[in-house]
Amino acid sequence: MINWIASLPNFSAYGTPMYFCYLILAILPLGIGLYFGKRFSWYEALISFIFIFLMFDGDSWQQGISLIAYVIWETCLVMYYHHYRQSANSAGIFYLFTALSIIPLVIVKLTPAMVGHNSLLGFLGISYLTFRAAGTIIETRDGMVKDISAWKFIRFMLFMPTLTSGPIDRYRRFSKDYQKVPSRDAYLALVNKGIFYLFLGFLYKFVIGYFFGQYFLPHFEKTALLQPHMISWSMVGVMYTYGLYLFFDFAGYSLFAVAISYFMGVKSPMNFNQPFKSKNIKEFWNRWHISLSFWFRDYIFMRFVFLATKKRWFKNRNALSSTAYMLNMTLMGFWHGITWYYILYGIVHGLALVTNDWWLRYKRKHLPNLPHNKLTTGVAIFITFNFVMVTFLIFSGFLNTYLLSK
């Protein structure tokens, strides 16, 4: 059986033009059903299974087994915690279940740093699924998740369009969409938007992202490695081309996931909103990888501030907000992976948010007459954009490659 699965072809999500042809053909009956006001749940389960199977067969079969084990683990945790929460609400049990839900991810992230090879527990998408599971447990604690069953939770976790790289949806939002069928007008509007996103995604990922990633970036990387000093014009080239590649590649991917969700009658959240228009770093995090940063905002930042304020851990409000920013962004760095450059990326963004907040306060208090016009806005956007590009260079890991090559 395993040999047979290992010999099958593997289709990573949204990888090739043919993938889109198969996928759209497969979801066409669903679309027709939705148009006539019906959701063919069994058919959706079937094609989701087939496409997820194709992502995790062939060479990736071990990941497929890890995925199955992981989903069973998280489903048991969520269902058991939900059952427990009906009759009791101890903080200790809540923290225990939250910890248990993120333990597989912690092991997967720590293993490469500790023993130098990837953990067997890992599979593509585990980071994203962990947010969904932990988020569901947190909202269950708050008494917000009332209507849940193992099947509904699995449907949420394994929603095929967003399985491997998000956007990260929330259980309550997802099930509200999933349990109803949009009206015909609403569905047609979704399809209309979806088609636009799909083509915008093609432009982003397969044209612009491809050019930056496959054409300019390798060229600059090659010349940057030949320079005697780390900071060179070639390195500047790596910085901008990598940053733009990262945006167009990831935003393109997210657009595909959102578009396919829309075709399936589920309004998955958008992940990007013109991030390079941001006037400061706070605004940037409202526009960049939105489903991730909002997850951290709602489940880490706000909950930490809430707890710290209630327990009066801090005398000074600004000390509290700075601590919360640092905690939030450093954790996000760790989530990307246990390497110095991911962690530094998180810390630098934490410091930037602290500085940004300080500047906004200072400006309001001491510089009320500071001019505000097109020029100052332009300067703000320029500074933000370039700062972000520097942090993406750190994030890329290329500085590590450079250092190792010397």
């Binding site: 909202e139 708050d142 706000m302």
Partner: protein, 79 residues
């Protein structure tokens, strides 16, 4: 009630009550409320109106104007 909410908002954001004269303006897009001030707002509302507002109850689109805050508080008081 609106006056009380405005005082809580002014407290939470460290601004003057006069910044909140428009009860229908979007508090988030106008930059008056950020995540930090939101938590102070929630805690202030809990104390003032004796309601429970879990953080995950807080959907920004339902709390983004003074009018909506007032409406939500009344709903939670009656819940």
């Amino acid at each position: 009630m609106q006056e009380q909410i405005i005082n809580i908002l002014a407290d939470a954001t460290g601004r003057d009550a006069s910044d909140f004269s428009d009860a229908s303006q979007d508090l988030f897009t106008s930059g008056l409320l950020d995540s930090m001030a939101t938590v102070s707002l929630l805690l202030g509302l809990q104390d003032a109106f004796d309601i429970q507002v879990p953080v995950s109850e807080f959907d920004r689109s339902q709390w983004n104007t003074i009018e909506k805050i007032e409406q939500r508080v009344k709903e939670l008081q009656n819940a």
